[in-house]
Subunit: 225 residues, 6 copies
């Protein structure tokens, strides 16, 4: 696991996160103003867009811009990333500004959505610093940190951070988003093969919480660097 | 909670499910053949499409056909319904047939996605019977039943099946899909306000499993009728 | 023929109309303001959108939201419904408000467009009452009532209100929209097979005017209920 | 009224029709094969597409290709033209060939849809001749001729072939499509202002039938030239 | 080569240009205001849209409005036309007005983009006169004239203004846009077969400059007429 | 100028090209088969798609997938890249295979289209090697190399490879695509401000040919590495 902070020159915050063979480029953009439905509230907004380059995967995918529409999977992951980051943001403290996180998968080998969340937090963190300084904000809009990991069951055994080959044969697949203090932001578990029972669910959650604690340390180092 | 089976005349299976003020019309369509990527495998497919009538809600929404694209929320829910139903289907036993579940929300008052899953199971069940008879299938393609419920935390207290007003102030929102034998198919928990801890997660899961057991009984009665 | 008024809870007016096996859900929405091109005129606007659920028909149709565009037939019928209702509305009396009629076919067995017009009038009527009361309008924006029926020639004989099977073999197909006082709002006659002569046109019009008179009575009863 | 036959070089049939200031370019294309739903029937197909150049009208309209979707009016008129021409075609005699009529309005001053039908018949007629010769068809696929005219009521008086200014103040607007032998293919009458009665409908029909007879003569001359 | 000025009645400037069998209808529209990104600058804007009727070519093409998107070739040519005309416009002198050039190919036989530029200049010229008079502009927004021609290499020999058959076998294809005083606005040369050397490039440029000088004379005559 | 070959793991050829602050990721995909219009000819095909990440630039751009359509600039550049590479490919030698070049701009600071062509050649070269080996091709499908550079006039002086700031004030902008042996594949010169004369055109071409010769050397080194 490797995070290269400030990989981009123009963005107010950015990180290239590498998780095995997976590489996601996360860029944070700070803009004045908020979406129409939020204007006049004095509160900010954080949103995310996830996408994959056509040849990030083993076989080339058609670009969504060429298809003329965004697929369900893309929508779902973009929403998950945005929701996860918003859980550690104090919108009042932000004022009416918007931060957009672009998470573009340059190479995919499993766990792209959780890598995106983990890397996007680093980019967000720098963007918030930029915004605070630039707009002279009194309170810190960031209330905590966020990391995410995927866990799964392969051949009956709970496993951390599956790569693509393992992922495709996993019997259960779970994405867990956790704060730096170990609380849950999002838990998404899906039976790919057979339904799972409470005991298995519990052991997957334990595994995920432990994995996220390690990711939190790596984020801290990157941000301290 | 009320399920009217065979509300439609043309569909191979259908159910109008009413959950408080929420009303979802579920229609199952049986077709020969499977999507291109599955051809020649000898296995069937089950998929779902969720949509909401423009005036199902308190204020009128723009039709997605008029916008020319399907929103992220619609995609996400359609995928959830399909995944949930596929967890109790034996595709080999189905042969190369496709069953499509159309879940159209006629009126919405919270919990439309879980109502859709619960009603769609009833429609699916009748469609599978139709298919078995018509194509003389040896084994039953249905391996179990599925019900779903939403649980949440309102003013610090875990609550079953929130309606829209409660949903909009819920601090945590969880959708749980459970088999008739009480195992998990899908667990989706989201912190809307503050992150949640393991104890709260546990109590929400308990509540959901109990609620789904009741729904399973109502499904059985509807299918016996 | 059956009309269930106020089938929906949120809409300012609604009706479920059943015509044989055809079922159309009509919902009226009242909103402040008018489309851009009408602003500042002091006049209101009435518009309609027609759509069909995918499994309303014998074989499942692809959703227009999935196709990403609205078909010609849908456009044509939406425009016909809007035009028909506008013929009995005094826009000056309405003030700058818009009423949108959503007519969604839940089940189709011929005559969906004429059923939609007939049901939409009932929903419109309640929406206008709501608007009058709410905005304290002096004059009644409704100047009359509207009903519509389809007539056709099957095996050489003029017939009222064809169902789908008859419709598909009709030699001539005519949709007639008539006011409560028996005047024409719209006459649309199409030779499906051979061209038709004036005598046949005349007998179809007679039949339609008689049928609409009956529909007007049913509308009155529903609105009196 | 003027028809210039063979205005285009590539098309199998074409006509530039001028009706007052209205100018519509009609091009007929003959292709082997029929749409998927008609394959294997041994029968042909005739279809039409109507469009307007952006500056055909007094103020420039946005191109439908730029909007990315076809408007309701365009769809409605395309369907009307196709339906009208199909009424005089014997599909069995055509064999599995498709003729597409493109009707592009170069300049608009009222009556574009009826001009398009009248001109498209001339282009169709030449395309049918081409097809007959080329494919050695035994029977003539054309069973008659078609002409169309718009009639309306301006200041209480029935009027033939309204131009744009008159059209916009017309109280009733009717498009009538008639065969060369004076029978009806399509009758579309719409109350723009007040509903209309049977007597008025009758006088409009008389007027239209007379006008179409004149157009039929002009078509004959053009095709004889 | 033939230019018919004022072929359209509504447009503020128009020309039908015929180049061999190629026929392009160019219409200029004058509107108050400029695109959003240019507001408040006091400067005007000139833009162009190019399109082809479906049967302009030997085989019928699908309409871009039906496809729901504009193709790359259309975009590319529209941008070229706009850029070419803007090179002879003084935007300050125009004030905040927009002139849109619609270039619709009615019949195509090679060289449609260069014909469009040459004809659009004539339409633009009349539109600028209209704007100057109407808005009482002090300085002439037109700073020169523009003509364009395509040159190519067929069987090793440089050739002026290729028609479609020649174009399709050309080894090199070059479009050159030149001012009335013989300076370059745009040079686009493409090796269709083998790469080309400097000597060939030079001889193609000589040929093009000569051809454009002739076109400039024809434009002058048309505008003097 | 820096080229990192094989930056991606899955693609059959790839290069990350850095040109000042500009960074373009080029990925080549080899697939069996060719587009429909080329089937049965025994010849291969090479095509390209260009895109820019939303935050590649100083201010964030809207994704084309979100807009639902590809812009004119994107189309134009994709076509230019494809055309440039095809000029050095022997399609007969390739057999019926397709190579797609995806050129995604990760960071932009001027000259992205020429950087994309130069980098794409390196990716193409590796993909061709892969294809030759895998399909045992007798003859080399690559007939030469391609490099591209942008030149312009800033403050009256010809300049090589403008960055964004210079580009935006350039009076003339020219993109030149040259083979490894110094012949032209594409010359695109545009007057941004004043039209340019032949002498200036000549000096820009000289400059470009020299620049491309240097790029050819860098490509050779990368491919030898």
């Amino acid at each position: 696991m490797n995070i290269t902070r400030n990989w981009l020159r123009h963005a107010e915050g950015s990180a290239l996160i590498e998780f095995g063979e997976t590489r996601v480029l996360c860029a944070a953009t700070v803009e004045d103003g908020v979406p129409r439905w939020r204007r006049g509230t004095g509160e900010g907004w954080v949103t995310a867009e996830y996408a994959m380059l056509p040849r990030a995967t083993d076989t080339r995918g058609t670009r969504e811009s060429v298809k003329g529409k965004i697929g369900g999977r893309t929508h779902e992951i973009s929403r998950l990333i945005g929701r996860s980051l918003r859980a550690v943001v104090d919108f009042k403290a932000m004022g009416e500004h918007t931060i957009t996180l672009d998470c573009d998968v340059l190479q995919a080998d499993g766990g792209t959505r959780t890598a995106a969340i983990t890397g996007a937090y680093v980019a967000l963190s720098d963007a918030v610093k930029y915004l605070r300084k630039r707009r002279n904000l009194k309170n810190n809009p960031l209330t905590g940190s966020v990391a995410a990991i995927s866990v799964g069951v392969v051949q009956g055994k709970p496993r951390l951070d599956l790569n693509y080959l393992e992922d495709s044969v996993a019997e259960t697949d779970m994405n867990v988003v956790v704060t730096g203090t170990g609380e849950f932001i999002e838990v998404q578990g899906t039976a790919e093969g057979a339904p799972f029972d409470r005991a298995l669910l519990d052991s997957l959650l334990d595994l995920a919480v432990g994995g996220c604690a390690e990711l939190t340390e790596i984020q801290k180092k990157a941000l301290a660097g």
